[in-house]
């Protein structure tokens, strides 16, 4: 796909890389360029391209909605509305980063609105992993990563609601988008460092202190 003339990502003015350079390009960057091409086609009215974007970014959008503490049904309504809103604004969105960031912003805003409408007095502050099912009971015993997931889940729940939300969303973002998305979520410019300091480093130290966490 990347070697077809005319199919390259031409969203911006960056010169087209030579095929020889493509070999050295990491998969995340290839995915990003692919998404850029989908965006171009979708903006030109290609419905199939829009469906491909839905397939690609649905897990991100879903997790953004669920990270706001919405139940599955309300989250599904919010997700559907976000995609319809995207279609209306497709012509304003010009890069893959902007696309992911736009979806995060719109979904998060709408999910919060719905959540605040649904919130009953007895419910505490929702947090992304507090509402997530317990993997030790939700997953079958034969699932290979079950114990690791349980360990991760337990430690994630010790983090602040803000960190839980951030990590849940960032885990679903293509890593080259990481910085951009951290900013979208209100982290300072060049936010990887601070983000890692506050959330990821905290989680890593919790995991390091947990004997059941066996990943290195």
């Amino acid at each position: 796909m990347g070697s077809q003339p005319g199919s390259r990502d031409t969203v911006g003015s960056h010169p087209t890389p030579s095929p020889a350079r493509d070999v050295a390009v990491p998969p995340e960057e290839l995915r990003r360029r692919q998404l850029g091409r989908m965006l171009l086609r979708a903006r030109a009215g290609d419905r199939r391209a829009l469906d491909e974007i839905v397939d690609r970014l649905m897990p991100l959008v879903w997790n953004v909605a669920r990270a706001q503490g919405l139940d599955s049904e309300s989250a599904a309504d919010v997700v559907q509305a976000s995609w319809v809103t995207l279609l209306e604004h497709l012509s304003d969105i010009r890069s893959p980063e902007a696309l992911a960031g736009w979806l995060i912003t719109v979904t998060r805003r709408e999910a919060r609105k719905v959540r605040d409408g649904l919130r009953r007095v007895e419910l505490g502050e929702p947090a992304a992993f507090t509402d997530l099912p317990d993997p030790s009971t939700d997953l079958e015993e034969w699932v290979a990563d079950r114990d690791q997931y349980y360990c991760l889940w337990r430690n994630l729940r010790k983090l602040s609601a803000r960190c839980q939300e951030l990590l849940r969303i960032v885990a679903f973002v293509d890593r080259p988008n990481y910085t951009a998305v951290s900013e979208k979520l209100g982290m300072p410019r060049g936010g990887v460092g601070p983000t890692r300091g506050r959330c990821l480093t905290k989680l890593r130290s919790l995991l390091a202190a947990d004997p059941t966490w066996s990943r290195t």
């Binding site: 003015s13 390009v25 995609w83 951009a180 990887v192 990943r215 290195t216």
Partner: protein
């Protein structure tokens, strides 16, 4: 994050030195363990809280509706008729209405999860009628009395569209779509 860039791209400013990096060494601050932890979080969420499979179809369905100039015919009457002798089966009659057209349909279960849909148009006339569901898009022309039928329709969300049809007694100035219903 180098490469294509547009005015609305979000992210840090790129200096000339960044141009050839392909954007990925911007994440040098994330080491292998960071990536493993983030991958594990993704795996955890996907395992215990996956995207519902039907949501993909639902979103596509919603996107298909958008962007076409059309008039929406809303449900103005729905009637559930219990088929008492046939146990749990129900026949439903639903009427959709908009300024140009009324579409009435009767939905009759015909077997395991299958339905027959009989419909009629008011005013009566021959129009191209399309039935759209997540899995299917099929067209039929109503007869001069405005009657049409679709057989063997599976469960799920569906919607009817009546299209302006040359030579018809019914002159639609734009396409009429019904509110989606769930079979």
């Amino acid at each position: 994050m180098s490469g294509p860039r547009s005015p609305d791209a979000i992210g840090p400013e790129e200096g000339p030195d960044d141009v050839d990096t392909g954007g990925f060494d911007r994440d040098a601050a994330l080491d292998g363990v960071d990536h493993e932890v983030l991958d594990a979080i993704r795996g955890l969420c996907q395992s215990v809280d996956p995207v519902p499979r039907e949501l993909y179809a639902r979103v596509r369905f919603a996107l298909d509706l958008d962007g076409v100039e059309r008039e929406l015919a809303k449900i103005c009457a729905g009637l559930e008729v219990s088929g008492a002798v046939r146990g749990p089966e129900h026949t439903r009659t639903i009427t959709f209405e908009c300024g140009q057209l009324t579409i009435a349909i009767t939905i009759t279960p015909t077997g395991t999860n299958r339905n027959r849909i009989d419909g009629w148009l008011e005013p009566a006339g021959s129009l191209l009628v399309e039935l759209r569901s997540a899995r299917l898009c099929t067209q039929i022309v109503s007869d001069d009395c405005g009657r049409f039928a679709f057989n063997d329709i599976g469960p799920g969300e569906m919607q009817l569209t009546a299209l302006p049809t040359p030579g018809s007694a019914i002159k639609l100035d734009r396409t009429v779509v019904t509110q989606p219903i769930v079979l």
